[in-house]
């Protein structure tokens, strides 16, 4: 197989190629596309999805699925703001993230206990908790926007990592919250690749029964997986606040299928055992690019759905077709005499 063919034979490869193609077309239609500012813009727009996606990737790698992550994120962000406004202390911004991650981990623990402890199906549990967490948020915590966010949050959201001028003289800036994504990505990559825990996650995703037989404490590992995923979702929620400078309890929920689509485009398999941090980030990048740049070239927004739908299907379907063709060709290439 040629190098190109080999790339085409993986879902990530297809997705990557489509993304490149897409970018080229966009660039032809709108030359302003090929500027560093576009990249920064995409990085900013894909921030929250990216953080969510990393948590979801770990869950997928363990053979589960998590649709409750957005509800956890929304709950954690809103509760954090309530708590901080309630205690009225000047906390550093790191404390905000710690609180949000802790709350997220707490909600993740509920998922984990139900899934690991009771052994319930992950889709069912997270469907339930998606509804449950969201209902709890709106019923008990409130339904009004918090626009008077503390000064620390505003300051943090004004902290800029890179600021460059784009072609038409406007400033495009990468907010400091991008560091949250970077940090989560690095930590998760280390966990998944270099720790025993990460290996166990992939093992469970491969075969739960087998993992149990060799003495992996599945329950514990699973609880841990959902706690970590919850903490990551909490961080995503808090990041969302620093980007929008307000806490809207209605935000975030509704994007869960989008996040899962990104993770899957990034090569994680819904059947478990597979998934990488880098692939996931690529998937998020592609989805974000499609979601935010079609408008730039004047394509109506409904096309986005259409294009993403195509991409998911093509990205998972083409590798299989190529694989079949390659197999057929290999078989045909063999001499008739054994």
């Amino acid at each position: 197989m040629s190098a190109l063919a080999r790339i085409f034979a993986t879902p990530q490869g297809i997705v990557f190629l489509v993304a490149v193609l897409f970018a080229v077309v966009l660039g032809l239609l709108n030359p302003a596309f090929f500027t560093p500012s576009t990249l920064i813009d995409l990085a900013r727009n894909g921030l929250v999805t990216g953080i969510f996606a990393l948590g979801v990737m770990m869950v997928l790698a363990s053979g589960g699925i998590d649709v409750s992550h957005t509800a956890i994120g929304a709950f954690a962000m809103y509760a954090t703001m309530k708590i901080i406004l309630g205690i009225d202390l000047d906390l550093p911004i790191v404390a905000y993230f710690v609180i949000a991650a802790t709350l997220g981990a707490g909600l993740g623990l509920i998922n984990g206990l139900l899934i690991g402890g009771l052994g319930l199906n992950t889709l069912i549990v997270t469907l339930g908790t998606l509804s449950f967490f969201r209902g709890a948020l709106l019923t008990f915590l409130g339904t009004t926007y918090i626009t008077s966010v503390p000064r620390e949050v505003i300051n943090f959201s004004r902290t800029i990592l890179i600021r460059i001028e784009n072609a038409v003289g406007q400033m495009v800036s990468l907010p400091a919250s991008f560091l949250v994504l970077v940090a989560v990505a690095i930590v998760l990559a280390i966990i998944m690749n270099f720790t025993l825990f990460g290996r166990k996650v992939y093992a469970i995703g491969g075969s739960e029964e087998a993992a149990q037989r060799i003495g992996i404490r599945i329950k514990r590992v699973k609880v841990m997986i959902y706690v970590i995923a919850g903490a990551i979702a909490g961080l995503a929620g808090m990041t969302h606040v620093t980007l929008s400078r307000m806490a809207n309890p209605f935000d975030l929920v509704g994007m869960e299928l989008n996040v899962i689509a990104a993770v899957v485009l990034g090569g994680a398999r819904i059947t478990g055992g597979h998934g990488t941090v880098l692939g996931t980030l690529l998937g998020v990048f592609v989805i974000t690019m499609i979601n935010t740049t079609l408008l730039m070239v004047g394509v109506p927004s409904y096309w986005q759905k259409f294009v993403i739908g195509c991409l998911i299907i093509v990205g998972t379907g083409l590798p299989i077709i190529f694989d079949r063709l390659a197999k057929h060709r290999r078989r045909m290439a063999r001499p008739l005499e054994a």
């Binding site: 929008s244 979601n291 408008l295």
Partner: protein, 304 residues
Amino acid sequence: QDAKHTIVTVVKLSGIAWFNRMEDGVAEYASETGHDATQVGPASADAALQVQMIEDLIAKKVDAITVVPNSPEALEPVLGKALDAGIKVIGHEASSLENVTYDVEAFDNAAYGRHLMEALAQAMGGEGEYAVFVGHLTAKTHNEWVDAAIEYQKEKYPDMKLVTDKLESNEQQQTAYQKTKELLRTYPNLKGIQGSAGEDVVGAALAVEEAGLDGKVKIVGTSLVSVAGPYLETGAIDMISFWDPAKAGIAMNKVASMAIAGEEVTDGMDLGVEGYNEIKLDGKVLYGQAWVDVTTENMDEYDF
């Protein structure tokens, strides 16, 4: 005019009759003036999607953005960013917006709310239980209408009684229908419903008709003939009011053009658009007198 301006109108939700009509006005303005005036809107009435669209427009460096926000507060930061980038921002249905160059309102919201309540009270004979719908509890305009209406009722029609908090329809006919049904069961003596979003009265009318209560429960609210027509015809809806979104679209774009050109907008000025012939300027907000009432009798005059 030699300079060609790029003006983009960002609406709450694309595809619904109301904003399609506004798009007609925007297109009319574009063809009359030669400016590049267009309209965009998200697929669901979500402030976050609007924020994203405006971010993109800032990146595209348009000359002016006119916007009908789903949630004014949610848009403040991004609109501020637009102003910083030298883009003129014209609001609509959002008199509370701070980060705008001007805000164009078809009318004073309180006056309009009182007007609707007057119509409902007339239909109900000045007494009985009623309920009110808003599109979203966070939609400023709807709340201003309804708040003024309720206040007006308390003052002028003490025999009328609001049965429950403002109901939220999410601007969906199905939600309005469902909640009206529940309302009818919970408050069997209900006699009136006032809607705010264009879908509210339609959903309410369907529920009322199914309960065999048409004629007994009066329905008044903001909508369009193309949406509420079938129910106006049968009398399930007593009266709808609206301001012509096309005219509002033209007025917004006109104000945007003036702002780009650096022209001043003054109290009592004539924008040259029907209903906006003598505007009232209050700070950055300018009000017209552009409401239209429609009943069975005059519904044929409107085709949108």
